[in-house]
């Protein structure tokens, strides 16, 4: 098991955003997290990434207890993440953005630049290499974020809705990119709303609602799960579906 979360809860005052969430991700898997808005998947995601400290529970990466570790430690140990709203370094060029990631593993400017260039080629950003990050559209920024994280040589990548808001063509390209990253041996946990992405990429899925994990298993099974349908469409909707089938 590369990443494990045991009974993770996160509360803000009296409100529990996440309650008793369990997760185990084996090396080389692609695991998806789904659930309606406010279901707690983003908060859980932030706990995995070290951006939020769980109120209770444990998070273990490659045998190391990461529960209270800051994001910097996560990155050093090989966990990388993207942000739901792209957080690229706007004023810096594309290559400089990626170099910041590369510098984690390469102290020398020359080595970092070489590594960054390779990553940029891999992610298809070569044409925009010297442009400022803010001149890229949202799809470009999302791609840049992925490139930047990739430059840190992660073993595990946490993708936070990195494929949202893309045109069908862009979406196919993005899915290809995620597959390529997976083929490089990187384990992936992906939060997504777009069902096509989950069904195509994820080997396993966890469904969240109101802070709890309500279903987990293969994508095709979870999608048919009654509790999951109820979570998205409301109570009793699973009965409607069965009647019409």
């Amino acid at each position: 098991m590369l990443l494990e979360a045991h009974a993770v809860s996160k509360s803000f005052g009296d409100f529990f955003a996440v309650r008793d969430a369990n997760l185990s991700v084996g090396e080389g898997e692609i695991v998806g997290l789904i659930g309606p808005n406010g279901a707690g998947k983003s908060t859980f995601f932030n706990c995995l990434a070290g951006d939020a400290v769980p109120t209770s529970g444990k998070i273990i990466f490659d045998g190391q207890d990461m529960t209270n570790a800051p994001p910097e430690a996560h990155a050093r140990l090989g966990i990388g993440r993207t942000f739901q709203v792209p957080a690229t370094f706007e004023g810096m060029s594309v290559i400089d953005n990626v170099m910041v990631g590369a510098f984690l593993r390469h102290t020398h400017q020359g080595d970092a630049r070489d590594h960054a260039s390779r990553i940029i080629e891999l992610t298809g950003l070569k044409a925009q290499m010297d442009l400022a990050a803010h001149s890229l559209g949202t799809p470009g920024r999302k791609r840049l974020e992925i490139a930047r994280v990739l430059a840190t040589n992660p073993r595990l990548m946490l993708l936070d809705e990195s494929l949202a808001g893309l045109t069908p063509t862009e979406l196919q390209e993005a899915i290809r990119l995620v597959r390529k990253i997976h083929e490089m041996g990187i384990t992936i946990v992906i939060v997504e709303h777009i069902m096509e992405v989950i069904m195509t990429l994820a080997g396993r899925v966890l469904a969240f609602n109101q802070g709890h994990v309500i279903a987990s298993g293969r994508p095709e099974d979870v999608v048919k799960d009654e509790a999951v349908i109820e979570a998205y469409l409301g109570r009793g909707s699973h009965r409607v579906r069965r009647r019409s089938a």
Partner: protein, 324 residues
């Protein structure tokens, strides 16, 4: 047709600064030149932590003042040549930087800025009561030189070239820093701390290092000031004008840019000299009103300063030039 090779702006700048005193050799022009260099050094020092890292210190005078007092204190207490006091100023500034940086860089940016004002004021008031350093009256350096090492010169010319050397060292350091991992990390922190942390940037450590580096150079600037002037008091060392000037010069020219502070000083020092000359004693008050207004305008319309403004305008100028 043969193309004339373009001379790099750096070379042109260096040449201009080197020959300035030879062309403008009068005492007045020399004084303006020396003031300009000192302002450029201070602002470039501030730029490391305030411009590149985006941690806005509005009390940087605390480092300047410590650097300014140290040489004259060593002279007063032990009769040493003032230069010998420079390392002590640096040591005190480094200690202060760490003292402020460690607690405040854990918190949001405002705490750091507030702390810098509070500490600068605290030190200023305290030094005004401390007899050892001359309290409100301050201290003086050697009236006549006991040797060249006292750096007490009649003419300002030697000071000009000493300051120019220090400026060159500082700018070279900044240039190298920009290309080093440290420089990338600073810019990443300024652009987005949260993202920087997620990429493994040791944010707090980096900020503290930036503050320490900035403090070292600011302290040196202060030492240069008191050695040249031969005098220091709480107001000229720790006063708010000192802090404000560093910030406005860097911000006006372009915070976070290598030549930003230089450009800012090029504009502001002659301007300041002019207002002081025209309005005499009341000039300082008017200078502040002007500074306040300029700072607000920069904040509102062009936080990137003249550098950014130029980058936005020049493509359009080029297009028009080529169209005709």
């Amino acid at each position: 047709m043969n193309k004339i090779p373009a001379l790099s702006p750096t070379v042109l700048l260096a040449v201009a600064l080197l020959i300035y005193p030879l062309i403008f050799s009068g005492a007045f022009y020399l004084d303006v030149g020396v003031t300009f260099l000192l302002a450029a050094i201070s602002a470039s020092a501030w730029n490391i932590v305030g411009g590149y890292a985006g941690q806005v210190s509005v009390g940087h005078a605390m480092f300047f003042g410590l650097g300014a007092y140290a040489p004259l204190l060593c002279y007063k207490l032990y009769g040493w040549t003032p230069m010998a006091g420079i390392p002590f100023g640096i040591a005190a500034s480094v200690a202060l930087a760490i003292l402020i940086g460690i607690p405040t860089f854990r918190l949001t940016g405002h705490y750091f800025s507030m702390a810098t004002i509070a500490v600068a004021e605290l030190i200023r008031i305290y030094f005004g009561t401390w007899d050892l350093v001359g309290a409100a009256i301050g201290m003086q350096g050697p009236a006549t030189a006991r040797g060249w090492w006292d750096l007490t010169f009649r003419s300002e010319l030697p000071y000009y070239y000493i300051f120019l050397t220090v400026l060159a060292v500082l700018l070279s350091f900044t240039y190298l820093m920009e290309r080093h991992r440290f420089g990338y990390y600073l810019r990443a922190i300024k652009a987005g701390e949260r993202a920087a942390r997620s990429l493994g940037v040791p944010v707090q450590q980096t900020k503290i290092r930036a503050l320490v580096l900035s403090a070292v150079f600011t302290s040196v600037a202060g030492s240069l000031y008191s050695v040249k002037t031969g005098f220091i008091d709480p107001e000229s060392g720790f006063g708010i004008l000192v802090s404000v000037q560093m910030v406005i010069i860097a911000a006006l020219g372009g915070a976070g840019r290598l030549y930003g502070p230089l450009i800012g000083a090029l504009i502001l020092i002659p301007l300041q000299t002019a207002t002081n000359t025209w309005f005499g004693g009341g000039g300082t008050g008017l200078t502040f009103i002007l500074y306040g207004g300029i700072i607000v305008l920069i904040a509102r319309y062009e936080p990137g300063g003249i550098y950014d403004l130029w980058e936005q305008i020049s493509p359009r100028l080029w297009r028009r030039k080529h169209a005709s």
